[in-house]
Structures are given as structure tokens and as C-alpha cells.
Symmetry: C2
Amino acid sequence: MKTTIYDVAKEANVSISTVSKVLNHTGSISEKTKKRIWQAIEELEYQPSVVSSARKMMKTIGLLIPDIANPFMAEMARAVEDSGRKKGFNVIVCSTDNNPVREEEYISMLKQKNVDGIIVATGLANSQAVRELIESDMPVVMLSRDVPHLPVDIVVADDFKGGYEAAVHLAQLGHKKIAVISEKINNTSIKNRVIGFKEGLHVSGIPIDEAFMADSPYDLSVSKEVSLKLLSRNDRPTAIFVTTELLALGVLQAARQLHITVPSSLSLIGFDNSILAAISDPQLTTIAQPTEEMGEKAIELLIGGMAREKQKKVIQRVMLSPSLIVRDSAASPL
Amino acid sequence: MKTTIYDVAKEANVSISTVSKVLNHTGSISEKTKKRIWQAIEELEYQPSVVSSARKMMKTIGLLIPDIANPFMAEMARAVEDSGRKKGFNVIVCSTDNNPVREEEYISMLKQKNVDGIIVATGLANSQAVRELIESDMPVVMLSRDVPHLPVDIVVADDFKGGYEAAVHLAQLGHKKIAVISEKINNTSIKNRVIGFKEGLHVSGIPIDEAFMADSPYDLSVSKEVSLKLLSRNDRPTAIFVTTELLALGVLQAARQLHITVPSSLSLIGFDNSILAAISDPQLTTIAQPTEEMGEKAIELLIGGMAREKQKKVIQRVMLSPSLIVRDSAASPL
DNA sequence: CTGAAAGCGCTAACAT
DNA sequence: ATGTTAGCGCTTTCAG
């Protein structure tokens, strides 16, 4: 059998409460007995179990994301995992596929497990399940998903700014005919990237051609097709902003097929700065999301939320600045 | 406060044990009271907590992997997550970075949390921590990592066969000068891929040129450099087998830089069939690991192991067949 | 400073 | 068919 606090108490000739106290650094225990107890703990290789209805902290959090197999999400998950670990928390990964049923199922499982908090980075931020979750007493923070009008802490990248900077960069390179391919999903982040981008174009005095605004679901081949169409026009764009890196790879494939060289004949700028940006050829100039910082901040807010449980608290919306990463997919037009 | 089994009991006018019984479908309860109890459960929105030392199942498993941000590992994790969920289990993701210290830390956390089992897909399968884990009473199954001489259930792809088939495929295409770039890591899987590949060459009557055997750490740029060297030789190979997809992308970049067209002037065959194979251009012909089946089998074995806890049991080593996926990176030499 | 004892939410004999 | 009760491993008053 596993060794319990009782075993330690017996070994050290004290009561379990004393052991509990030294374990939790509470109360005041004489150095002598403390030493004796720690010794017993070592000898018996005692590992305090976290599973006990008496304990309130499970030291575990749930992470709701669309799909852990999506490279960018995986990187985000890694950031959360790391920051969590540093604070002693484990994370349960929940891939929802943006499916409300799955979402509900996971939320229910997480509640039963008494997780200390949940980070919601899943798509359907507006689903009933998530709303209820937020209004329950479970600490929640939204990550990379904006939910207006709901009392939750939120951590997002400044998507508007990211889009804006992408536009300015392309403008400075001298592009005039600029297209956008955005991910077809009902998601504030994606929308803000586009809005910011348009604003950036506007400020740079570049007209926005609605015919150059395309979208595609999160699917490489569709994005390729869309790009093929876009690039086959007589007045084809000399630069494209793609809101999601995977889709940018589709553009790259389309360009290659049409013998359009990137970046000499077509500039491309992505968003995320996931591994996909680094492995593409040419490597993608992109707007980097501060993944690590976002994960860290999310954990920080979540833990904060656990502390002042039911009390009134100030809602925080943290917006982290993305940054332009210049690589090889964008250059001045010929 | 959360509603407990006591609240339900009170609401339904029965004792808590009766509630417990209907919850667990044990004992025999009259339909009437059953109905009454379920009604109370619904009304109070009671959610049984899994956190109780009385309960033995946490319905949670730990997954030790090198890095969730590695695309292939993420896909494997997703497979495990899905199979787990179907059986009612959540998974705690633990990225070890192949670091023994991290490994130990995570194992300790998982133990404290009383997880029902641990799937080890991490690199240092031979580290002391893992050995101890296996010899403890915690159900464990190794996934994608072979550990000879240890009493554990194991699920692996048949790497030898995969390598073998890759060789045969290239041979059938007519290649004679074939190189190998293998991941530089102390890992049986990788080694077996190479051994199988060599055997495949041998059987096909193709000499093995040791000068064509290269390796690279899991790093795109290094793999590119290695490839550059390999492809700059006068007698450069006409085909390359790469044990790990990420590295294959490095080869692709090198080839492009040297204006060597794939597949017409150079054939490439990878291993894994992760998303990387699909997004590369040209898409990678590759040996697919049966990820889903592996995850499923791992969960199955793990759950099996929980059942016959301490009893004697037969160790199983399950080897799943990989399969050749023909795409666009391998063709007959000119 | 230390310990006894009452819970926490639930399960599992053991009654009734 | 239902209820009583003794734990599970730990925290936390409350007394000494």
C-alpha cells in the first residue's frame, strides 16, 4: 500500500495533524520535531496525495482548445503547460473540435474532477456551455478568444495591431495591389486581424479592393484553390496577407504551381509564427503571437482568480503585442 | 457550495448510500426510488465528484511525451486523448523535453494525483525514473518507445517493416544510389527504421554505401546543412530515406537551394505521416504510422492493466503495421 | 508547541 | 429494498 500521512506520523511519533502542519508550513512546530518528521517522510518516501475532499486544490487545470494536433494550438498548449508546471499545476488537454457537445462533455468531466480552473481557448466561445461555465464559480480565463460582455479575464494578442503592422510592412515594401485571405471562422481574433490590416492599408493610402478579399476554411487544399483563383487574375495582387499560417502554405503551393516566385513576384505575410512559418520554403515573414507570454499571463490570471474565489474582483483583459518577424516571403515588388 | 450526494439524498428522501447505489448501478433499488433520485439529481444539477479517497478511479491518465509542440507528438497525443475520452478518461499532458529531471518531476506529480495509469512516449525510456515507475504498482504502457527487458506493455509501430517498405519502394522505382538521413537520437524506433531500410535495400540487391548514411538532430536547419553536403557530392544519391518528417523538410529546402527538383531529380521518402507530410511541397511520400490505432491500443492496454492490478499478467508487445503513403516526393530516376 | 476529533464527498460492507 | 456506519487521506478548528 502507498504510504500515508499516518505512516509518517507513526514513524515520527507524532500525530497526523502535526505532520500535516509541517507539510503545509502552517502552525508552529519545533525545529526538532520538524526535522524528525521530514526524516520520516524521506525514509518512507512519502508522497502526499492530492486526492482528498479535504484538500481544496487539485493543482490541475483544464485547457479547452479546438485541436491539440493543430500546430499552433499545440505550441500554445505547451506555453500553458510550462507556465502551469512552474506553479505546480498540471494541465488536462481537451480538444473540442469546436464542437459544442464535446465542449459540454469536457466541461462536465473537468468539473467532476474538481480542477482548479479552466482556460478556454476553444472556438465556440459563445456556446451556452462556456457562458454557463463563466457564470459558475469555476475560475476561468479566455485565451486567444474574445467574448464581449462576459465577466471573464481575457488574454489575447493584439490582433488589430498585428494586422495593421502587416499592412504597413507590405506598404513600406512598395506593394499597391494587396490581397487578404482570412480563415473562415466566426472568431473575433481573425476578424480583428483583417480589420487592423485594412486600417493599415488605409493609413498607408492603399485602396482596398474588395475583390482581393478572400477566405478559406482551415484546410490547406481549399486555401490553395482560393489562391489559385486569386493569382490567376490578370490584375493579380503582388502581395497577400494570410490570417493563419496553414493557409499561407496553401498560397505558397498555388504560387509554385503557377510558377510565381515568392518573394520576387509575390510577397506573403502570415500570422502566428508557428513552426509552420519556419519550415515553409521560403520561410514565412509573419506576425508572431507572443505565445509564451500569453500562456504565462493566462496561468497568472487563472491562479489569481482562484485566490479571490467568490469575492468581487476586477475583470482584466490583457492584450499582448504581436511582433513582425521578417523572414523570406516578403520583398519589394519588381 | 457545490451540491453533494447528501443534498440529493435529502431531496429524494433517501439515504446517501441509496443514492450512491443508483449512481453506480449497483445493489438493487426499486424503480420508484430510482426515478425519484434521478429526478433530484437533475433538479439539483448534481455532478458526482471524482475526488474522494473512497473512489479508486480518478479517470485520468498521464501522458509523458517529449514535446506536445512537436507536430507528430501532438497528433499522437490527440489519438490518445480521443481514445481516452471514449472510455471516460482525461489526459494530463507532460512534455518532458527528454529531460530526466523533468520526467521525474512529472511522474511525481502524476503519482500524487493518483492518476489511474501513465502512458510513456518520452525519449529517455531507460531513465531510472521510468524504470522505477514501471516496477511500481502504477499501470504503465510504453508508446512508440521500446524498452527491452522490462515488464511493461508496449505499443509500437513496426519500424523495421516501415523502413523495409520504404527501401523496397525506392528500389522498385529504380533507384540505385540511395541515402539515409536518420534522426540523431538514442531511440530504438529510429534505429529499427534504418535497419529495416538497409535490409530492404539488401534484399533488393542494392549496395549500401556507408558514405550515404547521415544523421541530424531534430532540427530543420541542421538537416538542411547535412543534405546540402550530401547533395553536393558528384555522385550524389538519387533518393533519400529520412527517418523523421521534419528532417525531410530540411532535405527539401536543400534540394531547392541546389536547384535539384523533387521528385524528378531526387526522390524523397519520409516517415510518420504527420501534417508536415501534407503541407510540404511537393507533398511527401511517406511511411505512415498508424497513430490512431496506436493511441487506441495504448489506452486499451492501460485500462486492461488497471483491472488486473497487482495480479500476475501477461506482458503484451503490440506492433502495428505502418503503411506506405504514395504522394509526390518519390518517382523513378531520370 | 502538539494532538484529538470533526469533517470533506463518496464507497462498501453490514445490518435491517 | 434501503439505511447505518466505517473508512479513504488529508485539513482544520479547538483544546490541552
